[in-house]
């Protein structure tokens, strides 16, 4: 729900410089460097300047999307978000093992649909939480109502459903990352 305001001055320069270097590095990693050409001395500088040109065009078009007008405490949120990723990867492994054990009949299948409300409001926090629900064991997001932070979730058993409605570990983690604990 962040209103679009026009960036200017230092803020705009900061945004454009960051976007330019991200685009250029991405382009270099994906297409420009070919180690065989580089080792045999056949690397043509014109390729590099082509990349610079393309990165500049991308910067002009898209810099407001990649680095939008500065909100509050962006760096702290980014730091917390990066620390959140390893936990999420661990949850992905647990989720696949959980579903595999249900496929082979070691755990029961007793699906249900649950609804609950959260304290999350911003688009980024809602999306992160919805993705996290789908990646963690036994639950998939069906629908979100952003105004009230209300989630409709399909759970494959009672255990995963209780993890969301009773324990609320993940809600607290996402709320901590985006500072929207309510």
């Amino acid at each position: 729900m962040n209103e679009t305001r026009v960036m200017k001055g230092r803020e705009k320069a900061f945004s454009m410089i960051i976007t330019f270097f991200v685009a250029l590095i991405f382009w270099l990693l994906l297409s420009a460097w070919n180690k065989y050409q580089f080792a045999h001395g056949e690397y043509e500088p014109i390729r590099f300047f082509r990349g610079v040109f393309v990165a500049f065009i991308v910067t002009l078009i898209a810099h407001e999307l990649l680095v939008p007008a500065r909100g509050e405490k962006v760096l702290l949120k980014l730091q917390r978000w990066i620390l959140y990723i390893p936990w999420e990867l661990y949850q992905i492994v647990l989720a696949a093992i959980d579903v595999a054990s249900r496929v082979f009949g070691l755990r029961p299948v007793d699906p249900r649909i649950i609804e609950f409300e959260t304290t999350l409001r911003s688009d980024l926090a809602l999306t992160t939480f919805a993705d996290s629900i789908t990646l963690t064991p036994g639950t998939i997001t069906i629908n979100i109502e952003p105004e009230r932070g209300k989630y409709t979730v399909h759970a494959i058993d009672k255990g995963p459903a209780d993890a969301l409605t009773v324990d609320q570990t993940m809600q607290k983690k996402v709320g901590y990352v985006f500072m929207e604990e309510g």
């Binding site: 990693l29 994906l30 180690k35 992905i92 696949a96 496929v103 993705d131 990646l135 998939i140 997001t141």
Partner: protein, 108 residues
Amino acid sequence: MLTVELLVNILACVFLAGGAFFMITGAVGLVKFPDFYTRLHATGKCDTLGQIFTIVGCMIYQGFDFITVKLFFVAAYYIFAGPAATHAIMKAAYFTGLKPWKKGDPRM
């Protein structure tokens, strides 16, 4: 050195085998589970991990190279795109009025 090469090959094989195991498990779940929603659970989650394991196995086999970076981008993209696609299919099914299976119902 031969020993390091052997170790890398073994590690890559372990990851590739793990990826294959989870993909096959997802396929078995697709056949075995009772209704649409639970089937989506099987494919959505097992495929994510299977894909990531396969790509990590390829990354280990390749060693540190520009191809490794490209494979890493593929894996990162899959983590973001996988759940979004699963959610989109599930939402579409839910709002067209497909009834979820409950324990005790006949298989659909």
